[in-house]
Symmetry: C2
Subunit: 151 residues, 2 copies
DNA sequence: GACATATAGTTAGTTATGCAACTAATATAA
DNA sequence: TTATATTAGTTGCATAACTAACTATATGTC
């Protein structure tokens, strides 16, 4: 069960929607203009840390649909760029808690602005009912497949 | 414009739907049992060749949402496994036409069977109307974003 | 307490991805 | 017809993906 999770490479786009790509592209371009070379994948990790700082690597992997090996290396790279630090948990020393640095924190504002703006453009003429149907269909397809151990 | 195409890593899942993953997993497991180690990505190329043999690399890249560099290397690997051969086009010698070998051809039957079976399981209780709505929403999100050059 | 088991994370190995710079062949324009 | 631009494909580079094997810490059971 614990090993029966989504894999990012295959399903991330579905789960997060097509607009994610556009948001990430825009962010990437913007960060690059500001001298920061952040990949789309790294951005997805930062995004979750802005929502909740100090997550464990495993939890970050779950939230971004990555296995732990991929998560390890993504955080390696983020640490190299000093956007993030690993801190061993006091309660359980197996666990690394990941915290944003002072370099990463100010990026949140512009990220959110760009994300909102892009989402609004992407979903311009899509109604709430349609979004609900799409979500519901995905959930049922997912259920149908996981029931058969196919995902 | 020509460079403004989908990139597989980001959008393949959306375009082809979640069920693709399950189909590919099942195929991969089955092929492996038969001694053939075909990756999910390689399978996606074979799939299009079964539909239409002798496509150019560029056309294969378009149909599988990959850039030409990725396509080159996927076909390298398929050629190593002798599932596919490159033949220079007589009309335009820049073009490589990609053909299935006699090893690859018989795999089509089992592939299609598994794909149908998996699709039926995935879409078990989804109605045609719902599928149409999902497709339509994707198309409109895609249009909204490409209109702004965001994809 | 000791031994087996589970969990968090790392490392190694292979494939894949995207960008950019390149080669070779073809098409266009002067 | 020669110079220029375009097109198809390849190669180099860095990042990322997944699997499997590994280390270290924690938990459970006898």
């Amino acid at each position: 069960m614990s090993n029966n999770q989504f894999k990012r490479g295959e399903l991330y786009s579905v789960v997060n929607g097509m607009a994610t790509t556009a948001v990430a592209r825009r962010l990437q371009k913007n960060f690059r203009n500001a001298g920061l070379d952040i990949t789309i994948e790294q951005w997805s990790v930062l995004y979750h840390l802005w929502k909740e700082d100090g997550l464990s690597q495993l939890e970050l992997g779950n939230r971004t649909f990555r296995d732990k090996a991929s998560t390890t290396r993504l955080i390696d790279n983020l640490e190299k760029q000093e956007l993030v630090v690993r801190v061993a948990s006091k309660e359980d020393r197996r666990i690394n808690l990941v915290y944003l640095t002072d370099i990463a924190k100010p990026l949140q504002q512009i990220t959110y602005e760009l994300a909102n703006q892009t989402m609004n453009e992407a979903l311009l003429d899509i109604t709430k009912e349609e979004i609900d149907i799409v979500k519901n269909v995905f959930q049922r397809v997912y259920d149908n497949l996981t029931n058969k151990d196919l995902l």
